[in-house]
Amino acid sequence: MASSRRISPLGVLVLIIVTIVVYILDKPPVLLGIPAIGRLLDPVNGCWASAEPVNKNFSADLKFPVTHNASVWFDKRMVPHIHADNDHDLYFLEGYIHAYFRLWQMDMETRAAAGRVSEVIGTKTLEYDRKQRRKGMVCGAENSLKVMEADPRTKAMMDAYTEGVNLFITSLNYRAYPLEYKLIGFSPESWTNLRTALLMKYMADDLTGSTDDIALTYLRDYLPKEEFDLLYPERIQGASPVIPAGTVFDKPSLAIPVAPPDSIAFPHFNAADFGEKREDGKGSNNWAISGARTASGAAILCNDPHLGLNLPSLWYEVQLQAPGMNVYGASLPGAPGVVIGFNDSLTWGLTNNYRDVKDFYLIKPVAGDKNKYWFAGKQLEFTKRIEHIYVKGKPEVIDTIDYTIHGPVTYEAQNAKDGGLRKPLAMCWMGHKGTNELLAVYLLNRAANYNQFVDAILNFQCPAQNMAYADRSGNIALWTQGQFVNEWKDQGRFVMNGSDSATLWGQLIPMRENPHVLNPQQGFVSSANQVTTDSTYPYNYTNSGWVNLRAWRINQLLAFSDKKFTIQDMFKMQQDTHSMLAGGTVGNMFKFLDSSIQYGDSKYLDSLNKCSWNCNLDPESKAASFYQVWWAFFYRDAWEPKLKNVPYDQYPLQERTMQLMTKEVEDTVHHTGVMKDADFFKKAANKSYKEAVDSIHILEKTIGTDWYKVKNTSVTHLAKLPAFSFDHLKIGGWGNTINAAKGNHGPSWRMVVQMGKEIEAYGVYPGGQSGNPGSKYYADFLPQWVDGKYNKLDFLPNTDKQNDSTIKYVWNVQGLKG
């Protein structure tokens, strides 16, 4: 019949177009650079699936491949208290729970460590990935993995953890993916023990990764020796070391090596050989006070490691209970155990040690042979490691890295950014060695007394940490713990000659000889990233980022007080924003200022007048803003003309600058004939004052001049999405005050623990237990952190049943392997 139905060509055309549109909304070509809008917005399986009901009941009865029944009690802040009958079940559950709340973050951080970000992001991160590969991150993680898997305890711990993470991952369908996977458009992949090893290297790189070696090499050639020593002293005048001055050290078991002649040890360069700019350092505080000096008579320990402020937070609070262990504290999603915390016998806190464990060697290639380099008069073959970097939407990039006797050739001509040297440099880094920090964590979590604490931390090799300790018997201690090399004087302080065997790393120092102190007379121990010891410590070591201002302030508050300290005092101390730098420089900056100066409103100068400003960097202080802005300009204007293209953060330390501004130093300088141009401070003061007034004027017209607005402390989502981040937090302080809240960096976990009969513990971190931006637990601790308030930590007894009123949800886990 004529009316028989045929397919209409127009219909087919429209159908094809609609299909293409739907396809693009589902899988947009990488070229377009847009998210999969349809897939993402879908209210059933897309982003809306992450809208966690605010009154979600997390309680569940679960069947897991664990050997015994276990329980997880979530308190009202969603801190899990995991109770298991053996280590396997415990770490299995910790892995499962880390993944449940923080999977995407674990994935991203370990991808970042391994240089595998481009795989999911694209060309934008290719240079970053290359740098990670060239640093030897994966190679280091593989070395560590061998050592970690050789020890039955850490092998079992990691295997169980990985099993737990993977059980969660295999339970996921697209709908249940964490939001960020949907936004960026990739899928979780199986967890491996290597990933855990990579996370440890991620921390090692974060904490020992930056080094002054290259900048100091430049400065050493650029400045006259006397001036270099004056501006960059190894030990700053008046330093109060981590291990109290006067502590007696044991005789070294190793002979201290003699330094080779300078001409052999160190090569020399031109200014043009150097790149520009590098990142600045990290810092942290910890201290412990003996019972003799506290109101309760029990020892108190405080810690606030300063790290990048990100969401999801680096830390995840957890309590772990198994036979013989009951520990509470901050864990790192991606690794089993508790990294900073306390158990029923003792508590510990970490700060970064900053002894230099990363050195650079100038490699002399054999002319005409790309495969060889000179070493000890011989031609050695490079070991080639081929790195495949997969790039989303692009062909893979292959990078061949030459490994030398010292380590990987990291900086080559094309990699001269970030303060690099445009020469082939090999990096020798403790992080490349196979080390087992996880064993330290394992033993530390179970340690019951000081000796067990020491035995535990002796396994902690890199990143070196200042480990403060307090126990219920009232003991306090501090170990500057890590694996160090028996160096000759100044070994590794500058780029070394890589073709002479005299510069090779020597023997390892037995770790029991690391500087430490138990129950010092002063009744407290403290560390805030300053120099480790006074000059009586027998072994040589060099600096990779010591600072002093926070240490001075902490020791001032603890030493010059006959007060019996309380927990409240500790809270107050961790929020302290007093700037020792302001206290030590404001007067001199005024002095350098021409008395005739007439610029801007006199209210600025008046605000800094010593009588009216207490030198505290309080959130709403306008005086603090003016001082900080003025100081920043002053510091730059003082050093820039002299140090020219040295990056800002390689100028002499701010506290050294403060010392050089004083009259005595000025006199010494004049007498010794060094720095004849000492009036550069005067010039800088006048120039910077005008710049500061102009800047403050602009701020007044825009965001205002409250200090917190000017400095803008932010907590940023790991994918740098402003929508999932928080900025302009109303918090005081700066990097050089105890409350070290800088721009995107600050106290990442504030903890105060009193080790009395009853353990009383408080803590807070700038984030929340859930990594899901659609959860009410995403950043719920942030307001408290900003306000300097703490959560009381519920340390539950190690029993099968709990009746603590704070428990809100329970997982009853049935063991299927039992």
Binding site: I7, G11, D26, V54, N55, Y778
Partner: protein, 113 residues
């Protein structure tokens, strides 16, 4: 009557389909329903649009209300939208357009050449 029926059918079948298949099952459902109902192209588009939009709106609201808008507010900021309501609107609009276009294609294919 036909129109209303097709709207309801698209909404319901989409809801069922999305529980088993990916989001684009809304396109398949709208297309098939339109082929069977054989309405005028304009009406067909409207029924696809309304069917999916209703379903997506209800689904969004169900998520959003128990979530106190935590997610929708953050997603709105991410998409540079001034309010979470607008983010819901954009979601519903995208779903509606996909449903509408698919239904339109379905009705066109059925038409006699």
């Amino acid at each position: 009557m036909k129109f209303l029926l097709s709207v309801i059918l698209i909404a319901l079948l989409s809801a069922v389909a999305e529980n088993f298949f990916s989001w684009w099952s809304i396109a398949v459902v709208s297309f098939i329903v339109a082929v069977f109902f054989s309405q005028k192209p304009g009406k067909s588009f409207l029924s696809g649009f309304c069917g999916v939009a209703v379903f997506w709106l209800v689904a969004c609201l169900m998520h959003d209300m128990v979530n106190d808008h935590i997610l929708s507010i953050r997603m709105a900021v991410l998409f540079h939208l001034p309010s979470y309501g607008l983010f819901i609107a954009v979601t519903v609009l995208i779903g509606g357009l996909v449903g509408g276009l698919s239904a339109w294609a379905g009705s066109l294919i059925r038409r006699r050449a």
